[in-house]
């Protein structure tokens, strides 16, 4: 059965990594629901957060193939309950539509949205939350004339206690010790 997974992928900051990752997803016919890229808490390490829908068997295979890439440091796969996550959305709505009565005030208050800019022609609202919350707000705004709507990919923080730099340190030690003791055959 397909379900939603969030892949947190830590990589070296090299050109072409994203391409290598999408090649793996494309071969397995997995659609990317959302993707974000940024520098992680560790300097020089990039974090890609990719949301996909697939089966749990397939996500394991795909994660192993991603981790196999030379420039990938570590891949974590999480279900939604294992992470704290948010998306951000911006809405541009006609001022005329919204200004009749208390509508705008109610909407902003009920949805914990923010007004970023007001002009005679349009109002820009910002909403941070889960995908469903953003979709809810969008459907509420639609009758008043949504001129533009843009939504970010997911950003996520894991609930797990062991952080990346601990993994990095472990990997580092394991390899350094062994590089000294074992001569590479071939």
């Amino acid at each position: 059965m397909k379900q939603e997974f969030t892949i947190s992928l830590f990589t070296e900051d090299h050109i072409g990594i994203l391409n290598q990752i999408t090649i793996i997803l494309t071969r397995r016919q997995i659609n990317v629901e959302s993707i974000t890229a940024s520098e992680s808490a560790v300097k020089g390490v990039q974090l890609l957060t990719i949301v996909v829908r697939t089966t749990s068997e397939m996500i394991q295979k795909v994660a192993r193939q991603m981790e196999k890439l030379v420039d990938v440091l570590k891949v974590f796969v999480h279900t939604s309950d294992q992470i704290i996550y948010q998306e951000i959305a911006l809405f541009k709505v006609t001022t005329k539509g919204l200004m009749s009565g208390n509508i705008i005030d109610n909407i902003v208050r009920n949805h914990h949205a923010r007004i970023l800019e007001v002009s005679p022609e349009y109002v820009v609202l910002e909403k941070t939350g889960h995908k469903t919350e953003i979709t809810d707000l969008l459907s509420q705004l639609e009758p008043y004339g949504v001129l533009q709507f843009a939504r970010s990919g997911r950003v996520a923080i894991t609930k797990q206690v062991k952080e990346l730099n601990v993994y990095l340190k472990e990997m580092d030690e394991a390899n350094r010790v062994r590089s000294e003791t074992i001569e590479i055959t071939y």
């Binding site: 070296e12 440091l73 990997m171 590089s179 071939y186």
Partner: protein, 579 residues
Amino acid sequence: MKIEKETEHAIVHVNGQEQITGAEALLQCLLEEGVDTIFGYPGGAIMPVYDKLLDFTGRLNHYLTRHEQGAAHAAQAYSMVTGKPGICFATSGPGATNLVTGIANAFLDSVPVVFITAQVTSGLIGTDAFQETDIIGVSMPVTKWNCQVKKPQDIPDTIAKAFYIAKTGRPGPVLIDITKDAQLEKLCFKYKKCDYIRSYNPLIPLHIKAIESAAIMINHAEKPLILAGHGVLLSRAEKELKAFAEKTGIPVASTLMGLSAFPSDHRLFTGMLGMHGNYGPNLLTNEADLIIAIGMRFDDRVTGNLKKYAKKATIIHIEIDEAEINKNVLVDVEINNDAKEVLKYLIPLVKENSFEKWIREFRICDKTEYEKVIKEETKPEEGDIKMGEVVKLVSDLTKGEAIIVTDVGQNQMYAARYYKFSNPNSLVTSGGMGTMGFGLPAGIGAKVGRPDKPVIAFLGDGGFQMTIQELGTILQYKVPLKIIILNNNYLGMVRQWQDMFFDKRYASTELVNPDFVMIAKAFGIPGKKVVMRKELKTALDEMMAAKGPYLLDVIVEKEGNVFPMVEPGSSVSEVRLTY
């Protein structure tokens, strides 16, 4: 800044430090890595490297093939027989794209080859300049790692990294794309071999617990079977495999790529797995209660229908590439380590044992296969020459000591089935990709790598013509390769499938062939055409006695089919002996 010039090598010193061009640095790097042989093809963008190559004559031997694909296959075969990474050069654009089949072939069969391509001057990248291709993008899905170098000072570290990645862990091809300006500009050369990359960890600590549970399973199994793959050869674990099998008494079956890792005439060897493998190991995979898979990846050609594969068996998978574990077959014990290290640790933990009754089941299958297939294939009394008997004769003649190279198709299956391999790394074939045209250039690479061994290439008349121009390489470098064409005037394997699954509708599989002996002659290669059975032995003797290259065009049965066969979609236990 103090600059002085030496006349002889035009070496410039900057502040007392030697400055050389990127092109020279590249060649120096290769020497540092112990390289002495390169296969390649020049062109505009790579000219600075080729120019410098002249100054390295005697230290770096360059073989000019007749097509970049040939260079790629030759470099791969060289690696397969020497255990050293193969090196292959090509220019930008078409030179680079012509490599792609060869790169993909090395990738699927996990062979370390370092591909060096040239790129247009860095300022022109992205402008669709003359002979510009995004070879980094193109080769990304078929390389273990690739990288573009635009600055000369980045060359040494990148090459060091490339060698380290190519040959460690699960080996594979890497590609370095060097811009023309980086080849021409100068750097202060310093080389340090790479032995560590933060994001890449080929040395995985031994999974002791998993090995210990594997040992318990092995000690309690009643019908265990070892499946040996290419990984055994790549990790050089042949001795350990032999010791492990002999101590435990467990029978060994091999994948196509694993052939020659275990002696073919060993009492515990049961033959080849897979679509055209032997009857016993296919049939009895589904009877085994324990499967110990070593350095193999459960390819679909090996497993047949996965839903009906090895259902009675507990499966132990020893595999260096974690992504291969649980990919096709769900396993019970995963040991994600190097085969040699695992076997070394495992051998003392297993008890001495023997499985005579179980092995007898294989021998009964062997007898059936002999009666129904092998006898007629290897000792026919009348009719046209059969591919099997040619291979069998060569096997007897060389006592299994030769290096066998194959093309792809029926010739490959017959060579794999009927040659009795005595030494490790003595089969060079295109397994995962199934690349027609692989055989002839691979034969050249194998012979260049092992001049001390007889190297015999079995080719089909179809595959031979895909890379036939490499006869020119044989001519130029006097490569004493023995070529045997198993000529049935058909694309035999495709025809077999048309015969079996497409109502004998032979669509575009019949070939009208030229006179191969005459073609060989034009390339200075002596040869002979053999039609009659009684001429075959003498012709083979003559071929083996010839000092230089030799081509034997053996006219074989036109519509012979390879059996046994596990039909696509069938279970391995439904392996068919006849049709």
